[in-house]
């Protein structure tokens, strides 16, 4: 199973890198989502793919010998929740940015660091 997962992760990470390097912010968010999921799958494979039995200790047993590794699943759950909230924030931020700046191309976003700039230029609103 591992090779299949590894190829899938590679394809996802590659697509994510491609999307992140495009200058359209919407594509960048999609790239971010894909990259996060590639990372989650990496954790899953790192925890070894073996049995798919649930790691439950039933009755008077004291341990389970062959079962799925529960730790990566817990880690992935945590990571999914975190990346969900961060991506939600990012989408809202981009929406706001689009509303105020009317651009989706990151290269055209020069509000914070004006190009012409001469670092010496005094910003207009601060000119006495």
């Amino acid at each position: 199973m591992e090779p299949l997962y590894i190829v899938a992760i590679g394809v996802m990470a590659g697509a994510a890198a491609y999307l992140l390097m495009s200058r359209n912010v919407l594509r960048m968010v999609l790239g971010l989502l894909l990259l996060g999921n590639a990372a989650n799958l990496t954790i899953f494979v790192a925890g070894r793919l073996g049995s798919s039995l649930p790691p439950l200790i039933t009755g008077d047993q004291v341990s389970v010998a062959v079962s799925a590794n529960p730790l990566p699943q817990a880690l992935i759950l945590t990571a999914i929740v975190i990346s969900f909230s961060l991506v939600a924030f990012t989408v809202v931020l981009l929406h706001k940015a689009h509303q105020h700046l009317h651009i989706v191309d990151t290269d055209a976003m020069r509000e914070a660091e004006p190009v012409d700039s001469a670092a010496y230029a005094v910003p207009d609103e601060e000119r006495p």
Binding site: L20, V25, M28, L32, L35, G36, A38, A39, T42, I43, V45, A46, G47, R48, L71, P72, L75, T78, A79, I82, S85, L86, F89, T90, L93, L94, K96, A97, H100, L101, T106, M109, R110, E111, A112, E113, A119, Y120, V122, P123, E126, R127, P128
Partner: protein, 503 residues
């Protein structure tokens, strides 16, 4: 005697309470500010108690979730972690005081919950003994900082926010992948347990790859060359209190993570040490040159953050106990000085109406007290005796020369001179020269007094002076903290042998 469980939980629990409390006081801005200050003071108190408990050299450790190490999530406070929590708490109180009458964040009820959230994330990252848990604290810190950065909703902030958020999210994902690989290679996430297991891996290539992956992830958090681009693109758009707390804490969490990982988990091989040394030198140079090219106080100071991070990394590259002590002292010195400079920048802006150095001037006459208060952190940042920066730089340069790494010592000294140039530029332009045009209308004058802001600035300057005039206890402490870092067996024993929960 307070149990170590309570000692280690309080600095996390108090900002969490603050977060909830300030959210509940959403509609009562004046009450919310007071609540934020009270909670920050309680946080300082808990940090002092923790610090005192770690002073005699014991490493406090506890496990959460009623699982023994290495299965439960460990919290550990050795001297370095306790000192970092203490300095975080001092900054929290200073900036909460400064914020009392600051016009910039007035009327933004979200500031205080996010501020407490940031403190929560930073403190957690300092104390955790579990690498995945560190990732979680990083994320708490990050999402709070995202919110704080774009709080004003101006065009500049939104623009800066997009870049800051994107770059940081990508690099955090790299951190997560690094954690995944580390778990795959060792089967554990507890940092003390990892330290032992890494040594049993025979494939040295795998260990180097893991080490470099972690270095990459933390380097972007710490704004090291060449991964610092998010910092000068975004910091200068934030408001003064936000900027000060960012400058004090965010990058230092990355540095702390590097110091922790490369003293505890990964062995610093010769190749890795050379690489870190070169990165440190390049970070120092690019930062200071960036600062030299700017005339906006916030941009100058933002670039100096990058430059100073390089100094902190020298200790990791040389890795002798004295060099690590230099890193520890440098981090503490830098947090106080840098936040103070940003706070002073905020007052300059309130007095003159601009952050830009060209149109302003004459402050030595208009605000003589501020001028004196500026000299202390500014000269300390440049490393002039007898201020804290001199001793911190001394502990960076001397071990470099001892180890024969002359290029690091030379870079550190030259960059010190260039730092002095930048500070003199601010002094000449903002304080010394007379403005060509009559002073513009000050921003927010008449809305609240300057008293709390001066109190915060004076307190931080006093700390700088205290370290500078009486360096002995601070250096001794740094050396002891570095000894604890060098002898990782004490950390490992403290974590793996500590009984969980109720001791």
């Amino acid at each position: 005697m307070i149990s170590s469980h309570a000692l280690l939980t309080a600095p996390i629990a108090i900002p969490l309470i603050g977060l909830v409390l300030t959210t509940l006081l959403w509609r009562r801005p004046s009450l919310q500010r007071i609540a934020s200050l009270v909670v920050s003071t309680a946080f300082l108190w808990s940090a002092i108690v923790l610090f005192r408990a770690s002073l005699d050299g014991t490493i406090l450790a506890t496990q959460f979730g009623s699982w023994d190490a290495p299965f439960g999530i460990s919290f550990v406070a050795d001297k370095l972690a306790a000192a970092m929590v203490l300095i975080t708490a001092i900054m929290a109180v200073a900036i909460a005081i400064y914020q009392l009458t600051d016009p910039e964040e007035t009327g933004r009820p979200m500031f205080h919950p996010l501020y407490q959230g940031l403190l929560l994330g930073v403190t957690g990252a300092f104390m955790t003994g579990d690498i995945f848990n560190m990732y979680v604290w990083f994320e708490i810190m990050l999402i709070s900082s995202f919110g704080l950065l774009v709080l004003g909703g101006t065009k500049e902030q939104l623009d800066a926010g997009v870049k800051y958020v994107m770059l940081n999210l990508v690099m955090t994902t790299v951190f997560l992948v690094a954690v995944a690989f580390l778990y795959g290679a060792t089967g554990t996430l507890n940092m003390a347990d990892l330290a032992g297991r890494i040594q049993t891996i025979e494939n040295t290539g795998l260990v180097s790859t893991l080490a470099v992956l972690f270095l990459l992830a933390f380097a972007s958090k710490a704004a090291l060359f060449p991964l610092f681009f998010w910092l000068p693109a975004s910091y200068h758009t934030a408001s003064t209190p936000v900027l000060a707390i960012f400058a004090a804490l965010l990058t230092k969490v990355g540095v702390y993570a590097i110091v922790r990982c490369f003293s505890l988990i990964f062995p610093v091989t010769e190749g890795l040490a050379n690489m870190i040394g070169i990165i440190a030198a390049l970070t120092m140079i690019t930062g200071v040159l960036g600062a030299a090219s700017h005339f906006d106080i916030r941009k100058i100071l933002s670039f100096h953050i990058i430059s100073q991070i390089g100094y902190m990394l020298v200790g990791v590259a040389i890795a002798t106990p004295l060099a690590l002590a230099g890193s520890v002292l440098y981090i503490v010195h830098h947090i106080v000085v840098k936040a103070n400079l940003f706070l002073i920048g905020g007052v300059i802006r309130r007095k003159t109406g601009s952050y830009h150095l060209k149109p302003i001037g004459g402050l030595h006459r208009a605000a003589p007290f501020l001028a004196i208060m500026f000299c202390i952190p500014a000269l300390s940042l440049a490393g002039l005796p007898p201020l804290s920066g001199f001793w911190a730089k001394y502990l960076v340069v001397k071990p470099s020369l001892d180890a024969g790494e002359w290029y690091l010592a030379a870079t550190a000294l030259i960059v010190g001179v260039l730092t002095l140039y930048s500070m003199l530029k601010i002094w000449n332009e903002a304080f010394w020269k007379m403005p060509e045009t009559p002073a513009p209308e000050p921003v927010g004058a008449g809305r609240g007094s300057f008293a709390p802001q001066y109190v915060a600035i004076a307190a931080l300057s006093a700390i700088t002076l205290a370290i500078g005039l009486n360096p002995e206890p601070f250096i001794a402490f740094s050396v002891e903290a570095a000894n604890q870092l060098s002898d990782s067996s004490r950390y490992i024993n403290a974590v793996l042998e500590s009984p969980y929960g109720r001791d």
